[in-house]
């Protein structure tokens, strides 16, 4: 269905520019006139028809950009239709006009992103016309094609279900990172995407990225970290030893990341910018607040953090 409508849409859009019907010039009027046009009363019945046809041309709606992040079912179309700001948008702003219709898809793609982002960040207005302005006035500049932000919580599917499609016939679904957790204004709907965070290790100049959605527990994450860095660490030791060895130094497993017993300890930075020990909170809470990971030398952790880790170990053993 979607594919059909999308492919029909493209020729339609182009046709529009050539059609000599009134609509076209109106659109042009609207395109240039992005501030509050003033005057036009948003009367219910009168506007409907006109706005409907405009909508037809605009072919977009708020949820449409989500096509971009869809996995698996995407058409090969590289220029997916982007949402336009709908009548709803204008009424949000109390602008009686309909929003500018994007003549070019590229336009739309560029325009929608900032707008959608603003949907999430609420400033005083839901949609700012200024970004649309830039887009329209430079019709041929397809600026950075940023992936549009998905709308949080739309479509209204429980996170429990969202994980199903990606995990059928394979390992159990990863603990949902978006389950009831919207720590900030950033859209958190990670369905279909990985939750990639940077991870750096002391002594290894090159960092890696891990997809937290691929793990469902601290143990799995810890072994993944071991796998990621084991080779790099060995190579680093090798080179820092001046390459005196001909053979690559034996790769030593990186263990004890979570319990304080190893040479290295896993810490993370959370959404408040604080550095925290990995392992204290339930996995899904961790996934929702973690922003980046670090593997630090245990000896360099401050006494404070070491102290609380021991406390934790004592607590753990008491509770078991």
């Amino acid at each position: 269905m979607d594919e059909r409508s999308r492919s029909e849409a493209s020729p339609q859009l182009l046709d529009l520019m050539n059609r000599s019907e009134g609509k076209c010039s109106e659109e042009r009027k609207l395109e240039l006139r992005l501030g509050p046009p003033g005057g036009e009363e948003w009367s219910h019945s009168g506007k409907m028809k006109k706005s409907n046809t405009e909508r037809e041309e605009s072919l977009l709606s708020l949820g449409c950009f989500s096509h971009a992040i869809l996995n698996g079912f995407q058409s090969k179309d590289t220029t997916p239709p982007w949402p336009s700001y709908h009548n709803k948008a204008s009424s949000f702003l109390q602008f009686p006009s309909t929003p500018p219709v994007m003549g070019k898809e590229a336009l739309a793609s560029q325009a929608c992103c900032p707008k959608v982002v603003e949907l999430q960040n609420n400033d005083t207005k839901v949609f700012s016309p200024s970004s649309a302005n830039t887009a329209v006035s430079q019709p041929n500049t397809s600026q950075k094609r940023t992936a549009p932000a998905p709308v949080v919580g739309w479509p209204p599917i429980r996170s429990f279900r969202k994980n199903l499609a990606s995990s059928s016939n394979s390992k159990p679904p990863p603990e949902s990172s978006q389950h009831n957790e919207v720590a900030g204004k950033k859209p958190v709907d990670n369905y279909g995407k990985g939750l990639f965070v940077k991870i750096n290790m002391d002594g290894v100049p090159i960092g890696r990225k891990v997809d937290l959605n691929a793990y469902d527990s601290y143990e799995n994450l810890s072994s993944a970290v071991d796998e990621l860095f084991r080779g790099l660490l060995a190579a680093q030791r090798d080179s820092s030893a001046g390459g005196a060895h001909n053979k690559v130094e034996e790769e030593k497993a990186i263990t004890g990341l979570l319990d304080g017993k190893g040479e290295y300890t896993l810490v993370y930075e959370d959404n408040e910018g604080d550095r925290m020990l990995v392992g204290d909170v339930p996995w899904h809470m961790f996934v929702s607040t973690v922003k980046r990971l670090r593997v630090l030398k245990s000896s360099e952790l401050s006494a404070f953090t070491l102290g609380s880790k021991q406390e934790k170990i004592a607590l753990d053993s008491a509770m078991k």
Partner: protein, 571 residues
């Protein structure tokens, strides 16, 4: 009636069971209030913050069964930040301290800790039934406590909870003396369970009627379990992966033939293609089929399966069945009452369903009264047809995946279609809207939806009038949840008294301001007006003119709650 002795009135009250009727009884006069409260055994609390546990216990000392709901519904869609609330702990603590002989606890969207579960398991000797729906905060350790300590446990039903797996052996914690299980559902658990312990448990539970396994239970274990429990009526299959030529599979097919009492089937959390034929023999007996978690089943297989299910009353399925498949459902399942069609990929699936599928269903299944339908598009004409064919809708929830999408044929908003639904379905209690909608649809809703209790709105409407139509017109409205609509202060403040007749109101990404919320809170002291300030700047103060991103208000007798996190400002 007052000339009868109390015992007689009590006896009569025994026949009055529903919460609403009971509530009504208690309002008649003081003596009825008194009699009713001492004989009340089941209490439903739709918002755990509307009343304190102490007050509940004081009024109903004979309480045996408690149902509690915590977070607002939109928490299901990640709109409520972590740690908002809904903690079970204070309830269990208060109940444990009292002399209430709690036997049944049903929770929805609450935060349940292992400690609470442990306390629960130790505090009520006759505890029989625990049902947790969409809860979180606990681990398998908490389940172990329940298993180990609740000697007369009949029901442990976990539905769609986020449970951390501690790889303990919680199932093994059911003592050998536990033989009372009637219902066990652990389908939502991610970890492995001891298969031996499971099989032994099933073997010693002659009353077991409902068993729902998680994905870690393989096919051969399923077969052994079914052998031991031929009396099962409700089965949730975990893993259904096997080579169709293998002995295990053949054994399973034979075992299935013996399970004639199964009327409800669900699960298939993992499924291999071409294995479904094994269950054809039980399909003709099924009244309930839930394949909405079975992401591995293809549309064509679904259709083949459905053809065998002539008695279905309840069907939950994924949209890969397609419009054609729904046509098959319409032809086969003449008794269908409840249908839910879930999207197999949230933003699109080429074989997904449209208005055509729904129309086909409406033509073939006139008894349909509950619908949840995720689709790609909907037309006014289709909705009007559906309204004509199925006037009995109690729940009508339509989600067009693309927000704001109009009728693709006419490019009109869907006002007329939904208007037809509310006009035709006089018993409609729950409605969820989607697609492009103007204020007109709300006018229709206000005019016609007299029984409407819950309304969910997203990306709809044009002005405050829309919300006002609803608030003025729907006299029985209890829950209103709105997101991304242009409703503002005027709509919010025009009839503040209305909110005390409702359970709750949620508004997010609308046009209400802090000042209006403050004013509302001031005028209505028996409402908690909460706004969520998720701004990462620590010391931002709320200015009156600022738009509120998320507001949740609810009536309460408990006053401002003390467990709110920092970002929740109760005005």
């Amino acid at each position: 009636m007052n000339y009868f002795p109390d015992e007689v009135i009590e006896h009569i009250f025994d026949y009055v069971v529903s919460h609403r009727d009971r509530n009504a009884l208690s309002l008649v006069c003081k003596s009825w209030y008194r009699i009713e409260r001492f004989t009340r055994q089941r209490v439903f609390i739709g918002n755990c913050y509307s009343i304190t546990p102490e007050r509940l216990i004081q009024r109903f000392p004979g309480l045996k069964s408690l149902t509690l709901k915590g977070k607002p519904h939109f928490a299901d869609f990640s709109l409520v930040p972590y740690d908002w609330g809904g903690f079970l702990c204070p309830w269990i603590e208060a109940l444990a301290k009292s002399r209430v002989g709690l036997e049944e606890l049903r929770l929805k969207r609450m935060v349940v800790s292992d400690e609470s579960l442990e306390l629960l398991s130790r505090s009520f000797t006759h505890f029989k039934s625990l049902v947790l729906v969409s809860c979180e905060g606990f681990t398998t350790d908490g389940l172990a406590a329940i298993a180990a300590n609740c000697r007369f446990l009949r029901e442990l039903d976990l539905q769609e909870n986020e449970v951390e797996d501690h790889k303990g052996q919680w199932l093994s914690c059911f003592p050998d003396s536990c033989t009372s299980l009637v219902s066990l559902n652990f389908a939502c658990l991610k970890g492995e369970v001891s298969l031996g312990a499971l099989e032994r448990l099933v073997a010693r539970s002659p009353n077991l009627k409902s068993l729902k396994l998680n994905r870690s239970v393989p096919l051969d274990a399923l077969q052994r379990i079914m052998m031991r429990a031929p009396q099962l009526a409700d089965l949730g299959i975990g893993s259904f992966v096997h080579d169709p030529d293998s002995e295990a599979y053949i054994r399973l097919k034979n075992t299935i033939l013996k399970c004639k009492s199964i009327t409800s089937l669900s699960g298939f959390l993992e499924v291999a293609p071409h294995c479904l034929a094994a269950i054809y023999p039980i399909c003709p007996n099924l009244t309930s089929l839930n394949l909405s978690y079975a992401a591995g089943i293809q549309g064509s297989e679904l259709i083949k399966l459905i053809r065998h299910c002539g008695k279905l009353q309840r069907l939950w399925i994924m949209d890969c069945i397609g419009d054609k498949g729904l046509g098959v459902v319409a032809m086969t399942c003449k008794d269908l009452q409840e249908l839910r069609v879930f999207p197999s990929a949230p933003y699109g699936n080429p074989a997904a369903v449209t208005e055509k599928g729904l129309v086909a269903i409406s033509m073939g299944c006139p008894k349909l009264h509950s619908l949840l339908y995720f689709c790609h598009q909907m037309t006014n004409a289709a909705l009007i047809t559906v309204a004509k064919n199925c006037p009995n809708f109690i729940r009508f929830r339509l989600c067009i995946l693309e927000a704001l999408k109009p009728d693709p044929d006419t490019l009109e908003p869907l006002d007329e279609g939904f208007g037809a639904i509310v006009q035709s379905c006089r018993r409609l209690r729950r409605l969820s809207l989607s697609g492009q909608l103007t204020d007109q649809v709300f006018l229709y809703i206000g005019m016609y939806a007299e029984q409407l209790e819950m309304l969910s709105i997203a990306f709809a409407g044009e002005s405050d009038k829309g919300m006002l139509y609803v608030l003025n017109g729907c006299k029985k409205l209890r829950k209103l949840e709105i997101r991304d609509c242009p409703f503002g202060n005027m709509a919010l403040l025009t009839d503040v008294g209305k909110y005390e007749t409702m359970r709750s109101l949620w508004m997010s990404s609308c046009e209400v301001t802090v000042g209006a919320c403050k004013l509302l809170a001031k005028k209505m002291p028996r409402l908690n007006v909460e706004i969520f300030n998720e701004n990462e700047q620590e010391d931002c103060s709320l200015e009156d003119g600022q738009r509120v991103e998320k507001m949740y208000l609810y009536r309460t007798l408990a006053g401002k709650r003390k467990d709110a996190p920092e970002y929740v400002w109760t005005l």
